[in-house]
């Protein structure tokens, strides 16, 4: 693409909005995923008895719902990003496309 076109897009307010929104959203979610995963790993490393403690009267331990929870969290957080990107971000992209390429 010509530098000229790139500059025109870059100065478009919607492009600025898209870039800022996507970048902060992406990094926040990345941070959230890292906190959850490394939190889980550190819990395993430093407090094994907590994860092995029973909940309820049977053999079920706290670790089981937490472990399963990390899997579900991973899928849900991906879904949250994809949903917003496929609607809001792509709409902004389309708007920019229309504005500069007409």
């Amino acid at each position: 693409m010509e530098d000229d076109l790139a500059k025109r897009i870059a100065s478009h307010p919607k492009y600025q909005e898209l870039k800022a929104k996507r970048s902060s959203f992406g990094w926040w979610l990345t941070a959230a995923m890292m906190v959850v995963y490394y939190g889980f790993i550190l819990l395993v490393a430093f407090d094994k008895p907590l994860l092995a403690s029973r909940i309820g009267s049977g053999v079920m331990t706290l670790g089981m719902p937490i472990g399963l929870g990390v899997i579900v969290f991973t899928i849900v957080i991906t879904a949250i990003y994809v949903r917003r990107a496929n609607n809001e971000f792509d709409k902004l992209s389309d708007d920019i496309n229309k504005a500069v390429l007409k």
């Binding site: 790139a6 992406g26 049977g58 053999v59 991973t74 991906t78």
Partner: protein, 571 residues
């Protein structure tokens, strides 16, 4: 043979060698079983079916774009299944379920590590890759840089990762076929080599994708059936299943002569973390290799170029994450099912109470227990088909690195015509096929437990930092990317060689002599890679550096908006 089988207990490998059962093929040494004709016929049906698909795909594979990316015409849903297929290997199916059977919760910790890289791929890379790239991840990494050095680096990163991954898969295939089909190791390696060549040579990415999709559906379907049958036995109550498993584990420990209280503690230990995480540094380092390695695996990254646009690229990672997460939940249930159905049934045990064929047979015996001989054959065939599909994907990405990055861009300066490029990729495919077979045979008796974790560590320390920095950091220059990338590559390989898994377990040096005490190098080698890129970029005052930085704006605009991205058809 007996002693080697025991050595191959997955959990021993998990704890001792830092292991890489999940994505790779740490199946260890296996005993040859009686020839299983049901399994062989099921596998033959799969092969015939996929060869028809290859024939259909071959008719559609005319240009380089068809070969590398199936013409960019795969939907997000299809690509998601294919990515999941690339990621769910035979060893993750057999190895994780066996690890769960042996130690319960620890198996879950392990599989979670393989899942958490996907959101990171989604948030930081997927759509940018799609917007900037055409055929290989080097297209993205070299977008605004001097082509030759960055392409040479990216091709090296690709080929090294592919080589280690391939060895693991080939050796796994040989061991698996001894276990499942009762055939010779050699046959397996040659069959995998030849079929993989046929898929890739004639059908390119289209055939590879569809083989991947079919295998993913078969694997998910089979595993779902097994998990369903297990849960049905317990009235769909996890509590009932866990309680029974704890009771059985306690009984086994008591039988082995443990006092009552200790036996109860051993039985209950499957419900919480055990010896998997030894020291926090190893745990974090290994976690980083898995999390960021996923974002640097060339055969996975390549899949993002098979979809028409960023929207489909995002959808494909969401589908992939969903299927892979679901699959790990299934393997967890299957592992507990194996405790309750397999460990209690003398039909599956030898005189000493050890699983026939080694502990990796947990899921296979469970298939027999819940679905009889035909289902056993089906699951065995699926396990072998799985290796075949993964190997085809790896070969394709290796071939693209040679033909697209080295031949077309470096040698021909980007002026190679599509026909010549296609020819080079086909020649490379044949070469890789031979290399894979030879390596598979050469490594038959080696302990290959470290190979997949090494592949992940290299991908995390070399490919991922270069990709991320080139896309997101304006100040990154050609020199920084190449030097930093190679530093990450070299340091991850060297640190792996001097870690206990290779230095002691594989090279046979005395215990405690390894220079690098941790399981995985990623924490250190990734840091070296990132710092290297940063330092050599900042110090770079060359003319080229100014050009690299000037190119950032255009690259960023395209990566964010997709304007100017290679179109759906790729022509």
């Amino acid at each position: 043979m007996k002693s080697t089988t025991k050595y191959a207990l997955p959990i021993a490998a998990l704890i001792g060698a830092g292991a890489a059962i999940a994505a790779g093929a740490d199946l260890g040494q296996a005993e040859k079983q009686a020839t299983n004709w049901t399994a062989i016929s099921m596998f033959a049906i799969f092969v015939v079916f996929t060869l028809f698909i290859t024939k259909w795909a071959a008719a559609k594979t005319k240009s380089a774009a068809d070969f590398y990316t199936a013409g960019g015409g795969i939907t997000g849903f299809q690509n998601g299944l294919a990515i999941a297929g690339d990621y769910m290997s035979a060893a993750s199916f057999l190895g994780i379920s066996a690890a769960v059977m042996a130690s319960g919760f620890d198996g879950l910790i392990y599989s979670i590590g393989f899942l958490v890289g996907w959101p990171v791929v989604t948030f930081l890379l997927a759509e940018r890759l799609r917007n900037l790239g055409k055929f290989t991840f080097a297209d993205v990494a070299a977008f605004r840089f001097a082509q030759t050095p960055v392409r040479v680096f990216a091709a090296s990163g690709t080929l090294v990762v592919v080589a280690f991954y391939l060895i693991a898969q080939m050796v796994g295939a040989g061991q698996l076929i001894k276990l499942l089909f009762g055939l010779e190791y050699m046959y397996a390696v040659v069959i995998v080599g030849v079929l993989m060549m046929v898929y890739v040579l004639f059908g390119g990415m289209t055939a590879t994708t569809w083989v991947q999709i079919i295998k993913a559906i078969m694997l998910l379907g089979g595993a779902t059936f097994m998990a369903f049958m297990v849960m049905a036995q317990f009235g769909f109550s996890p509590e009932a299943m866990f309680a029974k498993a704890v009771e059985i584990k306690t009984g086994i420990a008591a039988k082995a002569g443990k006092p009552e209280a200790e036996a109860a503690a051993i039985g209950f230990s499957i419900m919480g973390p055990g010896g998997f995480v030894k020291d926090p540094i190893s745990a974090i380092s290994f976690g980083m290799a898995l999390m960021f390695g996923t974002a640097g695996l060339p055969h996975i990254l390549m899949r993002f170029f098979t979809v028409p646009n960023a929207k489909e690229a995002r959808k494909s990672v969401l589908w992939a994450t969903t299927w892979i997460g679901y699959f790990y939940i299934l393997t967890f249930i299957i592992g507990f099912g194996a405790i309750t159905f397999v460990l209690t049934n003398p039909q599956f045990l030898d005189a000493k109470g050890v699983l026939l064929g080694g502990s990796n047979m947990a899921a296979i015996h469970l298939a027999n227990a819940v679905g009889g001989n035909v289902f056993l054959g089906f699951i065995s065939a699926v396990a072998f088909a799985t290796i075949l599909a993964v190997v085809a994907g790896l070969t394709l990405s290796g071939a693209s690195a040679v033909s697209h990055d080295l031949y077309a861009t470096v040698l021909k300066g980007g002026k190679a015509d599509s026909k010549a490029e296609l020819k080079v990729s086909r020649i490379t495919t044949v070469c890789l096929g031979f290399v894979a077979v030879i390596l598979g045979i050469a490594f038959e008796k080696q302990n290959i437990a470290f190979m997949v974790s090494l592949a992940f560590a290299i991908a995390a320390s070399a490919n991922f930092p270069v990709l991320l920095m080139s896309v997101l950091w304006k100040g990154c220059t050609t020199r920084g990317a190449v030097i930093g990338g190679f530093l990450g590559l070299i340091s991850s390989v060297v640190l792996t060689v001097v870690s206990p898994a290779v230095w002691e377990a594989t090279l046979g040096n005395p215990k405690g002599s390894a220079w690098f005490p941790y399981t995985s190098p990623a924490l250190f080698s990734m840091t070296i890679g990132f710092v290297g890129i940063w330092l050599f970029s900042v110090l770079d005052g060359s003319k080229r550096a100014a050009q690299d930085k000037a190119g950032f704006l255009a690259q960023q605009v395209r990566s964010e908006t997709g304007i100017g991205a290679a179109g759906a058809s790729g022509h």
